[in-house]
Symmetry: C2
Subunit: 337 residues, 2 copies
């Protein structure tokens, strides 16, 4: 029998826990027979949710955790003091080798801190970045880093470029992914101090396909596969992507309701438009992986529904089966030598 990939899921994380989390886990089990899900949370609550579904019981485990870390809690303190919280218990399973990956929709800060403090960094990795996939006109690009570390150094960005490149090649199946650094102009001499220092280092990297700078304007068209930046800039890019998209879509919808003529038209374009906008929806790709840890940590959106939870869990299966961490370790070490 094929070995199962074991994913520990925080059953209590996010706005729709535990209902949508458990539902997503059951859906993932249905889609991947090489998956085992470990649901972590108050045992009775989790089992009550599970009862709603029929599923392969041999591939589900429930691990009790009595506490929950709330969204507003200071992350470091929460991870240190709430030893029996679903995040801490689930991450310890990864640390101890009882699970291969963690998926959580709870507090981003707590997930990032837990990833660093409990799961721990791979040897040689200076900082583990959070790397969501952004939808583009052509498919998806990896934005790396996007929230794990502010005030990064050039050597961090070089590692992000390498890890992102390995991810896109192995998990997303993109040959020789194009790597670009976020900048305010196309020329090498442009940029702030961090970018100016990082640019020549990326140019020297032999094991990535560095194509130079990318201006924010060119991100949505899919100009690069791996978009390297420090976390403050990455956070702006991710959130503005969501914000401009949501505002424009809401304005388009409202605009179509202004006259009888356009209302009739709206009914006719609706199915085609829905299909189009789905392609630009960040949730389709599941959560954002935190790379460079001894195990995979995936952070899904706090508002995740079953579909995002399911996609995040499935992402863990691909990641683990592709032996991504071995590849990242090899990539980082190659750079050091």
């Amino acid at each position: 029998m094929q070995e199962l990939v074991r994913v520990a899921v925080d059953a209590m994380g996010g706005d729709n826990a535990p209902l949508e989390i458990v539902k997503g886990a059951v859906e993932a089990l249905e889609l991947r027979k090489d998956l085992k899900v470990i649901l972590v949370g108050p045992e009775e609550t989790v089992r009550a949710e599970l009862k709603k579904y029929s599923y392969d019981e041999a591939r589900v485990e429930v691990v009790n955790a009595s506490e929950v870390i709330e969204m507003a809690e200071p992350p470091v303190q929460a991870i240190r003091t709430k030893k029996d919280s679903s995040i801490v218990v689930a991450m310890k399973l990864v640390k101890n080798g009882e699970a291969d990956a963690f998926v959580g929709a709870g507090s981003t800060g707590a997930v990032l801190v837990g990833g660093q403090l409990i799961v721990g960094r791979l040897k040689g990795v200076e900082r583990p970045p959070l790397a969501p996939l952004l939808p583009t006109e052509k498919g998806a690009s990896l934005l790396i880093d996007c929230g794990a570390n502010v005030d990064a150094r050039p050597s961090h960005l070089v590692q992000f470029a390498k890890m992102g490149s390995i991810y896109m090649e192995n998990v997303m199946g993109i040959q020789n992914p194009r790597v670009a650094i976020v900048n305010i102009g196309a020329e090498e001499e442009k940029g702030n101090a961090l970018v100016k220092e990082t640019f020549p280092l990326l140019k020297e990297c032999k094991d990535i396909n560095f194509i130079g700078s990318i201006e924010a304007r060119d991100i949505p068209s899919g100009y690069a596969d791996v978009i390297v930046c420090e976390a403050f800039a990455g956070n702006i890019i991710l959130k503005l992507y969501e914000g401009v998209g949501a505002t424009l879509i809401s304005m388009v919808k409202k605009g179509m309701m202004t006259s009888l003529r356009s209302k009739i038209g709206a009914l006719l374009v609706k199915p085609a438009l829905k299909q189009t906008l789905k392609r630009f929806d960040t949730s389709q790709y599941g959560g954002a992986p935190m790379l460079g840890l001894k195990g995979l940590v995936v952070k899904t959106h706090g508002s995740s529904k079953a579909v995002e939870v399911r996609n995040s869990i499935i992402q863990c299966v691909t990641f683990t089966e592709q032996r991504m961490n071995d590849k990242i370790k090899a990539g980082i070490q190659a750079e050091e030598n």
Copy 2:
């Protein structure tokens, strides 16, 4: 007779010069009787364009400039060596008090460098920011700074907040404008080193209405009137705004052409949709003012058509008549005392 506001226009700047520039200038003259336009460029070329229109000749002057600064030229060198370029000649008119303002669609770098080196900073202004208006669901917000200075210090950001606030109140007519700093979370303790240092300084500022942090997600909804950030972040925000908007609109248009049903619908929604999207078009507000100079410098988009040039010129009239520079000087000095 009312005194005329004198605007020096680079007739050779941008992709559509001189045609759209001269056209926009003539349109502005038609709309504002308190305006005089000084067109700067090769005299014969400019006069040949002018011949196409009828206009109040008493309020137009042509000043000869034989050279043109190209988009790709290194800005500092271009400003220093091309003494007879349209940008340098036009800016000197502002410096010498022969014009109140400058409008140009040419190289952003050259306009910014020229603003600093030729027009010069107001006393007390540490760095002059570039501050475009972003369209939002509710109207427009001022993004400050967006390209003039990377690697800014906290004291620069405080001045940006004050200048932006004065601009929104006096030029856009917004009472007690809400000022926010771009951050990666709502809490005061979040952010990179620059934001953490700047936040308490803004809180102490008595003459602005500081409402705290703004996440990029909330910019398009119009959560704040003045959005303060350093130029690297501002550049990302401005360009991603354009990029996501353009990609989504092109995807919506393509999506509506996928079936006969949606094609018919598209015809019906088109007028309403056009009206909606116009509200989200950055060009409606004219160019971005560079604040804190001894005179106004307005940079309009390189692809500007007559309408943007016209709006930029009219913006200069309001700015000058509102005695904005006196107000900025007073605001900056109040802070120093």
